[in-house]
Amino acid sequence: MAGRGRKKVDVVQQEDVLQAVIIADSFDVRFAPITKDIPRALMPIANRPLLEYTLHFLVAAGIQEIFVFCCAHANKILKYLSDTGWTSDKAPCQVITQVSEDSLSPGDALRLIYDRSLIRTDFVLVMGDLVSTINLQPIIQQHKQRRLKDKVTVMTMLFREAAPRHDTRSSDDDVVLVTERDTNRVLHYQMVEGQSKLDLPLDLFSDQNDLDIRYNLLDCHVSVCSPQVPQLFADNFDYQTRNDFVRGILVHEEIMGNQVHAHVVTDEYAARVSSPPMYDAVSKDILQRWTYPLVPDNRLSSQEQDGFYTLHRHHVYRGKDVFLDHDSILEENVVIGPGTRIGSHTTISNSVIGQNCVIGDNVRLDGAYLWDNVSVGSDCSLTQCIVCSGVTITDRVVVEPSCVLASNVVVGPDVHLPAGTRVSLHPAQTQGAEDDFQETTETVQHQTYQPDRIGAEGKGYIWEDDADDSLVSLMWGLRLEQEESSSEESEESDEEEDDMDQENSLPPDDSRIFYTEVLDSMQRAIEENINADNLILEINSSKYAYNISMQELNVCVVRCVLESAHIRASLMATASEYLAALKPLLQPMKGLLKNYIRNSDSQQDCLLALEEYFGTHLNISAVLVSVLNFLYNEDILEEDGILKWYRHPAPSGTLTQKAQQQVRAAATKFIQWLQEAEEESEEESD
């Protein structure tokens, strides 16, 4: 903008100036409703606006010209930058703001930068919510050298090594990267959020190089870009985000020849405050000094006069004029802003408290982020929440984890905010809610506050979670573990499916469908008391439909009978419960069984089915005797058949020998009886 023309000293020097672009807009609604009032870049983290961290990171890297791209709340960012002196002549580097109210994505922002032709050389692209201590200089040098050698190098992305499920790994940046070992060239870039499998195209492997598949990377969203990047964004208007860009480059690599590289840092810090869980994680890292020198007790610039903190044991940072009443305890990882008063018997841990807050007696704060001018009454308990500036929490309020109270809200007294509650002075919008938007033009709906939910003195609207809104699920809290476990489950289960696919030589589909069909018809028959003949007719017709052999059919029918009893008794039934369920079934099913079990072969099928069924359900194997007895008495099974089965166990594919033995052991009583009866009858006949 205006700044550039004025500063044009000489062209050669201009070429060497290191430039950076900060996208000071998130283009999403993760932090709603906070971002109705204040842009994400200005949200304080450890009592310092996020943008401050990003700017200092770039200054430390020796960047001389920074373009801050503002979209929503642009005036607030402009005001902040001029108030803090960043845009003045005294600033360590030149900060130039670029405002565009109608950009909708980082892609739009870069297109705008291209239109205004601001970029002359390699530049650093970062988001305005970055906290990082990476030394960029060597990385920029590497990028430049690579580009000297090869003009097609367009971008070097920065990653930090962090194991999967690392706290500061945002779930929406769950990325798998395939890089070439020696050159760090990125060959494949894929988001794996919610996927259990990853398909790597085989053409990736055509080169002779070893490849690394890396899932231990945290995307810092810092990229060193070649000057042609804004142009590429302009040429491809469908690139909305950097991820689109990277994917586009990789897909079109053969045509365009452009290449993307990755740089992995291991012992420096970088993380984006991209969602409330990240806010929590990054705050903790700052308090625990992982981000040194970006820590509260380190004054970053001469402007920060009131931001003077002293460090005490257990990472307790206290500002000037903090008043602690007797018996109040600051446990660990606590920042108390200047001018804050804390009442007696109050315990605070893992929390950040802004300037000029007033906290009452007997308050318990754990993982609470209180911004400036917050007042908390007595006997409150706040856990894992963000409380924005000017909020008043009156007495006896309990705030459960994952709550967000936006600016100037009042809650209480005597209320209990359930987990995940979000309260704002702005009424919740039903649709089209864009983060970082300025005062919306729509007419303010005159809703009334809900005193039963936010207290009698409460001021603010509760934002309800929209079930369809997938973004809401990214709010922090319990969902993390739930999601993990559920995805784990599904992973596990399709692993098993996979194994079935891979290990079974026969595709079981037809016979399985047939089996369920028979089972269904049988259950219907039982419920509706359908005649056995009709059932037989039904089964026979499906037999032809699925081309099932007679043997399979026999086995299937027996199994179905046994299983329908199991279903009636519940799958976890004990032997006696099962027997009780089976008994009434056997009588009506007698006709059916007689129809199918007619000769010695089918008897063997039947016995095998029994064996398999009870072998897999050993807990109810005691019932086998009764079943055998019934079938014997009904002349469905014959003595010879049973004995033959008993003495010569057929090799079974499904049962271990142990199970087979157990089944036989269960049948022993009946066999003994049978043998005795046989002997007797022989004796009699003698």
Binding site: R165, K197, L198, F205, Q208, E503, E552, Y613, T654
Partner: protein, 455 residues
């Protein structure tokens, strides 16, 4: 006895039928010794007292003969014949000798020509208590070695994708290109445990495995696995990451499986149930402070696959024509460094001859006047005429090469006859073939027509 050694020698050499048409694969000469001598010798050097060799019934006698009589092998050989007409895979063969297996076992293919000391592999096996330890080697540089038959497509169709974790010892991904359609599928659960996987495509499987005994028991139960390399190894690698079924799960699985018809239940055996720990291990685990803390846990699965990658020394699998040539070449190189006599003292010569440093000349060879040999192997009882030049070639036994012929990069099988003044380059001459005089061949396979048909 810690390991039992099994040499798989029942392969038919289906990837180099031109050579194996007349000589069974285990007996193909490499450096004038039958191929199978190399693995057996390797085992003998490593201190094995007994070696089980699985061979086709028809060849088992010849193999014993070749090893004991010709090569002076001292270990006791237990040669198990399998029917010639049974088309068994290597896992089928293991199943066949199941009763002989008492301990963990070492399985090696007869076509491995390798100078790696076996203890290196065994150390890894012991150190990690791994279920499977495999030997991998860099792919031989087929580009320059096999001038022979360049036209034949080499290599690429059988690339293996091998993913190794961190220090490059644990195998976490294993897939053969032939089995994949167009993508290599990687599970996220694998990546969660091994977030940085290095995928190598330049490695070849040397077909030398150390296996736990229970794997054989598992094979006994699960009959669908028929080859070690193709099915068992990928299965084990995959199962490293599947959960051990808890007793509750088993009953649940049984409930689920009720829905499936009996035929599919056959393979539902839980592989983990075979890997039962002995009491001591269980006790150690329960008493150690780490118990129950490994959330992402290897405790779920006790199956582990490790590898040793050969970085120095030779390691070639002579299972294709180019790799056969390569094996011969490397063995020459290896021998030239040693102090073995390369030219048999029994050769008869006539006039001047020139034998280069990397040449091996067998017993009873007669050389004509002004013969030049370079980097070649001459088998036993060959007759080589005057002014013959042989470079980079493998000449098997009882071959006659008449005056003035020039052979370059050739393989000449037993009893072949090459007429005078012929020039052969990068060609294969089948056994008992007769090459007329003044013939010129380049890049060709000269075998019986019937054999051609078989191919």
């Amino acid at each position: 006895m810690e390991f039992q050694a099994v040499v798989m020698a029942a392969g038919r050499g289906s990837r180099m039928t031109d050579l194996t048409a007349s000589i069974p694969k285990p007996l193909l000469p490499v450096g004038n010794r039958p191929m199978i001598w190399y693995p057996v010798n390797m085992l003998e050097t490593a201190g094995f007292q007994e070696v089980i060799i699985i061979a086709l019934e028809s060849t088992s006698h010849d193999i014993r003969q070749a090893l004991t009589a010709m090569c002076d092998v001292k270990v006791s050989l237990d040669i198990v014949g399998i029917p010639d007409d049974a088309d068994w895979g290597t896992a089928d063969s293991l199943r066949h000798i199941k009763d002989k297996i008492q301990t963990d076992l070492l399985v090696v293919s007869c076509d491995l020509v390798c100078s790696v000391p076996l203890h290196q592999l065994a150390d890894i096996h012991r150190m990690h208590n791994s279920t499977l330890t495999m030997l991998l080697a860099d792919l031989p540089q087929t580009t320059d070695s096999a001038g022979i038959l360049k036209s034949k497509k080499i290599g690429n169709e059988q690339r293996d994708f091998i993913g190794l974790d961190g220090d490059g010892r644990r195998v976490v991904i294993m897939a053969s290109e032939a089995d994949l359609d167009d993508a290599l599928t990687v599970r996220r659960s694998v990546l969660k445990r091994h977030p940085c996987v290095r995928v190598k495509t330049k490695l070849q499987d040397a077909h030398l495995f150390l296996l736990k005994k229970w794997v054989v028991d598992y094979l006994q139960q699960n009959r669908s696995v028929s080859t070690i390399k193709g099915e068992l190894v990928p299965l084990l690698v995959r199962k490293q990451f599947s959960r051990r079924k808890k007793p509750a799960d088993v009953s649940k699985a049984a409930d689920l499986s009720m829905v499936s018809p009996p035929s599919t239940k056959e393979d539902n055996l839980d592989i983990h149930s075979f890997d039962e720990d002995d009491e001591m291990t269980v006790l150690t685990r329960s008493l150690s402070s780490g118990a129950g803390q490994r959330v992402d846990g290897t405790q779920d699965s006790t199956i582990t696959c490790y590898t040793h990658i050969v970085t120095e020394g030779m390691c070639v699998r002579a299972n294709t024509l180019p790799s056969y040539v390569e094996a011969n070449k490397q063995i020459l190189h290896e021998l030239a460094g040693g102090d073995e006599v390369l030219v048999h003292p029994s050769i008869t010569t006539k006039g001047k001859y020139q034998i280069g440093p990397e040449c091996l000349v067998g017993e009873g060879v007669s050389l004509g006047d002004k013969v030049t040999l370079k980097k070649s192997i001459i088998g036993k009882h060959c007759t080589i005429g005057d002014r013959v030049k042989i470079t980079n070639s493998v000449i098997m036994n009882h071959v006659t090469i008449k005056d003035g012929s020039i052979l370059q990069g050739c393989v000449v099988c037993d009893n072949a006859h090459i007429g005078d003044q012929s020039e052969l380059k990068d060609s294969l001459v089948g056994s008992s073939q007769n090459i007329p005089s003044k013939a010129k061949y380049s890049n060709e396979v000269i075998v019986n027509e019937e054999q051609m048909l078989e191919v």
